[in-house]
Subunit: 160 residues, 2 copies
Amino acid sequence: MNRRAAPYRPRALTPIRRVAGLEYDVLDDLLGYSLRRAQVAMFMAFHEATRGMAITPPRFTALVMIGANPGLSQTVLGNVLGIARSGAMLLTNWFVAEGLVERRHRPDDARAWGLYLTTQGEAMVQRMKRRVVAFDRKRAAVLSTLERRELQRLLAKLAA
Amino acid sequence: MNRRAAPYRPRALTPIRRVAGLEYDVLDDLLGYSLRRAQVAMFMAFHEATRGMAITPPRFTALVMIGANPGLSQTVLGNVLGIARSGAMLLTNWFVAEGLVERRHRPDDARAWGLYLTTQGEAMVQRMKRRVVAFDRKRAAVLSTLERRELQRLLAKLAA
DNA sequence: GGGCTTTGTTATAGACGATTACAATTCCCG
DNA sequence: CGGGAATTGTAATCGTCTATAACAAAGCCC
């Protein structure tokens, strides 16, 4: 089959600093910009939580989704992540090379693979989930529980 | 000076579809994931607003910031965007090649450039701002005015 | 004046994603 | 039921964006 797995080191990122004394003009009024800033902040939390593991947000999402939906196909995985099939395949290749995921043939459709976590993958995902959730909560602690819930509600409404 | 400007076509993007019937596990509880989804939704609005112009969010931010802070240096621009100096320079090269921005020597520091919008750049930014704000508002219209303000507040708190 | 820092630049490399084309399989309709 | 259309995974290639490292010129500071 000769699949290549990408080499893979998640990229470091420069934080977005709010530079004092600068005029931000309409940017402060744009919901899109506010979202971007907040999202970067939460990404820093994610980055901390997964330090040492070679994990990025898409990889995390993929592993969680495979774990929660055993037998997922690569095409659906691509849809979930918002990437093309070819990208979902490269991602899967890496998981397989790392021993986290395995492809199994599906009885119902010989074209598609079913994706499943390995035992090792299962353990890894459990550990990751605990850490990511913990750091997410910790970062979100600047909000009260009520505020956090309200924020979640508004975000869901916006994304619908 | 022999500066190269990148060729430049902003990339198309596959939307993140919420796939019905799939289990999303902890993802639905993570503020980071909710933010990401909402941000992608707003990005679609941005994309629509800037259709036909070769504009991406970082480019938009850069032009607005240069417009609002004439004489900005490339280093500061990089900080604002959260990218390295070298990237700020490539970005600026493109602006200059497009005739939107010009570099002027600064009397106070012969190392740094001061960045300024050209007349054409000024017009372009005004047009862009109107469109982007309009589409941002339109997309945000699923929220009431009160909700929108509350969301902005919570996001700011989170990003601080 | 001399070391350290800052700014812009150049070169290079890597991560990530899109696009296109292809083969195998499945679906669908006439 | 048979053949064209659609779907799935794969491969190859390209483009965009970013970082990193090294350098020269200019400024800073003691």
